[in-house]
């Protein structure tokens, strides 16, 4: 991570709209470009093949599975039999919270089935995402601004901040489980008797606190990288013009760090929408902390095909969120390094 510290040289945007290629240009440029393209294709081929195997294939097979019925029990033999094609019923069952009825057909899912939890899990997932990402952005920004300053022991702080992020999430969850235990240090320290994992709002806050603790450093470092891109001269110029600290923050820091910030928020949002380990270990999904991912995992044990439908729904939800980010909020994953490049013509 952040190894090269200190003021980073600003990339001067190439004027005149020349493509940003690092290859030398010269005689026979067209030829070179053509052969370069072929080369590129060959060099990319292994990666694309690997992606096809590990990403495209599972997605397609999951989608195909989601249109199959789960195996049903043959009452005569007591053995499971293939379900056959299901059409969209796996999807509609989730969305309208319909479950199989004993006599055939469907009924509204009774409490205690996974089907009855779809909308509450969706709500919980978004609740966690919005709250944690907001908190992490604010705290991460604050940490980044501090870390961007020059002070003694700065590298140590930067390294130390990474520790929570470096701990595997499952371990983090276990640590916080001990802290939030009834006899745990959390209650001892503040002389409280809160059932952290046993009642609704404390359980939610337990998950949020653990998640914020873990991922704020990630936010902070991405934002810090963005801050480093802002040349010191801009601030000097603003100071000379008499801009106050608040004005410098609002008119220079914020707009210039925005591309990096948006990417950081996008990554965190996508990550938070898939949240699984923390609530699974901390609460087991009790007290309204069941996220969509937990629901998928629980459903896998009860029937693959309905689980495939649910993971496809989750995928579509996350995809839509990412699309909105990229399309309307200007999060630009690919060009994030050219932070100062945009807007200048």
């Amino acid at each position: 991570m952040a190894t090269e510290l200190g003021p980073t040289p600003v990339k001067e945007p190439v004027s005149g709209g020349t493509p940003i290629h690092h290859a030398p240009k010269g005689v026979g440029e067209d030829n070179a470009i053509a052969s370069q393209g072929r080369w590129a294709a060959w060099l990319l081929a292994p990666t694309i093949l690997a992606l096809a195997i590990v990403i495209v294939y599972p997605i397609i097979s999951a989608v195909i599975m989601s249109f199959q019925q789960d195996a049903g029990l043959d009452p005569a033999t007591g053995l499971f039999t293939e379900g056959g094609p299901a059409g969209f019923s796996n999807y509609t069952n989730w969305i309208f919270q319909q479950c199989a009825a004993p006599g055939g057909g469907t009924v509204a899912c009774p409490p205690g089935t996974l089907g009855a939890q779809f909308w509450s899990a969706t709500g919980t997932t978004f609740f966690f995402t919005i709250v944690t990402v907001t908190l992490e952005t604010v705290l991460g920004f604050w940490m980044a601004v501090i870390m961007a300053r020059t002070f003694k022991g700065r590298s140590l702080v930067r390294a130390a901040v990474l520790v929570p992020w470096a701990i595997p999430t499952a371990v983090t969850a276990k640590l916080w489980l001990f802290i939030f235990a009834f006899e745990g240090i959390g209650n001892k320290l503040f002389s409280t008797t809160i059932l952290w994992t046993g009642s609704e709002w404390p359980a939610r806050w337990a998950v949020i606190i653990a998640d914020v603790w873990k991922t704020t450093p990630f936010m902070a470092l991405l934002i810090l990288a963005g801050l480093q891109m802002i040349p010191a001269e801009v601030y000097e110029a603003a100071k000379v013009d008499g801009a106050s600290a608040w004005q410098r923050f609002r008119m220079i820091t914020l707009p210039l760090v925005k591309p990096a910030l948006m990417v950081a928020i996008l990554f965190r949002t996508l990550d938070a929408l898939r949240m699984f380990d923390l609530p699974y270990i901390l609460t087991g999904g009790a007290n309204n902390t069941t996220t969509l991912s937990i629901l998928v995992i629980n459903q896998i044990r009860q029937g693959f095909n309905a689980a495939a439908a649910l993971s496809t729904i989750t995928f579509i939800i996350i995809f839509l969120v990412a699309f909105i980010f990229v399309r309307f909020l200007g999060a630009n994953v690919v060009e994030q390094s050219g932070a100062t490049g945009r807007g200048k013509k």
Partner: protein, 427 residues
Amino acid sequence: MKTPKFLLPVATAGVLALTLSACGGGGGTTSSGGGDAAQGLDGRGPITYVQGKDNSNVIRPLIEKWNAAHPNEKVTFKEQTDNADQQHDDLVQHFQAKDANYDVASVDVVWTAEFAAKGWLQPLKDKMALDTSAMLKPTVEAASYKGTLYAVPESSDGGILYYRKDLVPTAPKTWAEMMSMCSIATANNMGCYAGQFKKYEGLTVNASEAINSAGGAVLDKDGKPSLNTPEAKAGLENLTKAYAGGQIPKEGITFQEEESRQAFQDGKLLFLRNWPYVYNLATTEGSSKVKDVLGMAALPGLTGPGSSSLGGHSAAVSVYSKNKATALDFLKFLTTEETQKFFATQGSLAPVLGKLYDDKDLVAKLPYLPVLKTSIENAVPRPVTPFYPAVTKAIQENAYSAIKGEKTAETALSDMQKSIESASAGQ
């Protein structure tokens, strides 16, 4: 102009796709194992035994012993993780792939019906039959599905009521008696009773025990849910009333096995429902405050001993195995008196052979055996159903709400009933 714009959606899709592929794993569905079950019955040769992590080094010495005696039919040990869910998923994947190398597998009692209904387990009848008459009956029931034995009980487990000998003169035999002793707990400024009431598998164990001990049943003889009964209601209400009344301390709903053991060892509980493993720790750990005052009894029931939920593992032969004759011999080897004794002494695993519970040497080493025998003899297997994952979720979800007082025991039971009916109806 800039870097190719088309890369952007591709990259975004890539990032997102990872989310899906992480979830969409596993695939394929069932196929009936009709043909496979008839194959390899006389096959002899090397086999593999699959089991979760061998924490107390029980299986390796046994396999060495077997291998020394059977040089041409060696057993290889495939060790899984120590997480039950992961063991389950690993077995499912290998059975689905019809892996002939998973010859004999150690199966948790609650998975037997599911695996049997998927057609993955060799029915232990005709050529594959073996004698189970010396085994405790509930363990055999838990290894059977629709009247056919699909696995042989390997180790067992049952709940025990631990109590404070110094404060309670005689152990309570019934739930009502135990509740009446709670005044002792109040006088000593401690909690009265706890089991495992966090929303996880342990809650299924505890809630089923409450229902069974009061004369109810989660499933009837035909595997249909039977929860809308006065007995089941009385059973669940024992828990809900005790929680509302403070006999179960409020932190009880965050307890798993370890938290409840810790509370008991710290002197914060008068009665504790837990597994036999607590005995060793509570009597030897330095910090334990109950070392010399640890009493053990069968779980309290309606008029006599209650019905414990049954734990433990069974050994099953895969239908895809090529050497089933060897596999059967190995199953018999796992259940000999000698092996079972070794399980008990080396690994503190409860034997499945009834007579070992009266073995003097063994009882001297493991003083909880007589109590455990009563517990297992009265035990009821957790619902034996191929839909166990859905059934256990239905029980947990609703029992948890009922204990917390969010719904009445009656509503919780009727919701459980409907959920289980819906799960068993298939899609």
